[in-house]
Amino acid sequence: MTQEVVTIENKTGIHARPASIFVQTATKFKSKIQLKAKGKTVDAKSILMIMSLGLVKGTEITILADGPDEADAVKALKDLVDSKFGEE
């Protein structure tokens, strides 16, 4: 199990477009990936679950991965959040 804490920095939070990029990235990996925020843990490969968390700018999230490529998965997703999903 690998995990990493990141803060959402892009202006509009994880709305439809960033959420879709996030899920697209997550589904590339074989590991089971979860996202923990606001006291809930959800499947990081479900766009609906991620969007239903309502992740706005400044929210702290934890990315957890468990499986053969867990380290790469967490790194890729963390980089994505850190890059503000290419916005701004």
Partner: protein, 570 residues
Amino acid sequence: MAEVIRGKGVISGIAVGKIMLAGQNLDGYLVHYKAGSKEEEKEKARAALTAVAENLRTSIERLKKQGMVEQAAIMEAHRMMVQDPMMEENIMAKIEETASAPHAVLKAAEAQAVLFEQMADEYFAARAVDLRDVGKRVAKFILGVKEPEIGDEKVILCGREIEPSVIAGMPTENIAGVLLGSGSTTAHAVIIAKARAIPTIVGLNKEDRIDKIKDGDHVILDGERGEILVNPSAEERARYDERIRKQQELAAHYAALKDLPAVTPDGIKIDLMANIGSHMDVDNALSYGAEGVGLFRSEFVFMGRQDIPNEEDQFKAYKEAVEKCGGHLCVIRTMDIGGDKPLPYLNIPKEENPFLGYRAVRISLERHDLFLPQLKAILRAGVYGKAAIMIPMIINVAEFKKVKELIEEAKLELAHEGKSYADNVQVGIMVETPAAAIMTPVFAKYVDFFSIGTNDLVQYTLACDRGNASISHLYNHFNPAVLRLIRRTITSAREAGIWAGMCGEMASDPNAAVLLMAMGIHELSMSAPSIPRVKEKLRAVSSIQAKEVLSDVMKMEDADEIKAYLQKVL
């Protein structure tokens, strides 16, 4: 022999094409849906999810190729919602409850949408729209309702209800005709079709006639007779070819007039402008040679929604229209709504006599929460071209003075908010009550223009409901009383040095146009496809001849006599 289906033809012309089912309101389809066993329904839902995701993938590729990256990203989000594990789980659970795949899909999407709506953040709350859209897409697939896909072939759109955005969203050259289940001739879809001269037949819900028309059927649509020939034989097709040829000849003849001005042989120029219902109609109006917009019916911005449209939404619509008019004028009529067109957020009680009731400017002057944002939006749009404000249903000068005060207030607010606006937007009134027409010499001191709304002016002057078939013989714009009110209005404008125009049905009657030209009118505004025929007439009759005709007409005592006389001499 092809089967002939009859409806009510509302926009004439003959169209030939392939049927594309395009119902957006699914209620009619849901009622007729026959569900199988729960297992079958689950299988249908799964298959639909896969197929819709695949269709979306194709669209996304196309959008990317066209460089529409943002749209592609949104579609990508939709695709992921369709393939979301939670979505499928919820749909399966709903099938257990409802035993119907399309109902289950819509309910699952709705439940998720409601969850989104409850979120505090406005942006996420707004994503509920995406979910409902996705739900509809999948349900449509199961119900066999096609998404309008733009191909090379001309299509005839057919549906129990068709959302105006579907027609508006397709290029005119791709839509040959429209077949509508509901019988309303004032449905937004019909009004948009009218502005684009697309042959249209309505009222096909009667006896479920619309169900006889299947997706992909080849049909001939005769908008004049209200007849639809499904899968016609070669001989039947040939019979229509001659009529289609004549129609094309006329269209080509009119197209040749497009860039010519509406000038009489002795040099009197009349501005011919278009009546539009949406900012999306402007391009089409210009293609008929319209020199701007003489009537933008802003109530469409208010209809079909659950809340008051805000200043920003209105601004976008007006700005686009004003911008597209280029250097020409774009006259925006403020909200003309009353008890006959109820809006959920206005709470107007049902009235005995809505045409004489709480409507139009009477509402605007009381509901500043509606009126100010509209005025501000128009003033802001004025920055992008030449906008004008037109006030409907005015009966006295005091009302107009109040309107002017509110316009000043709107300007002050805009200045405070640091938003740019146009200071020189013309403000005029629609002359559509006998009271206003009689008082035009006084109004002329305050207004920048008059635009005569004949539909209501005839109705109010003659105390004659224009929708009542049993008294339709009384409703006539050539009635001498009506002609006198019109002449008075135009003369008042001329004497005060302001302009007078007309934006009612009468303006699209070529013979009437000649009389109006003789009276000294400056501008005529009509549904765009009527422009060429009016222009042709004006270019053929000199103002000297027209004045002689007018002088004869003003001596006549009867509307039918006038009409017959004009037909004879013009």
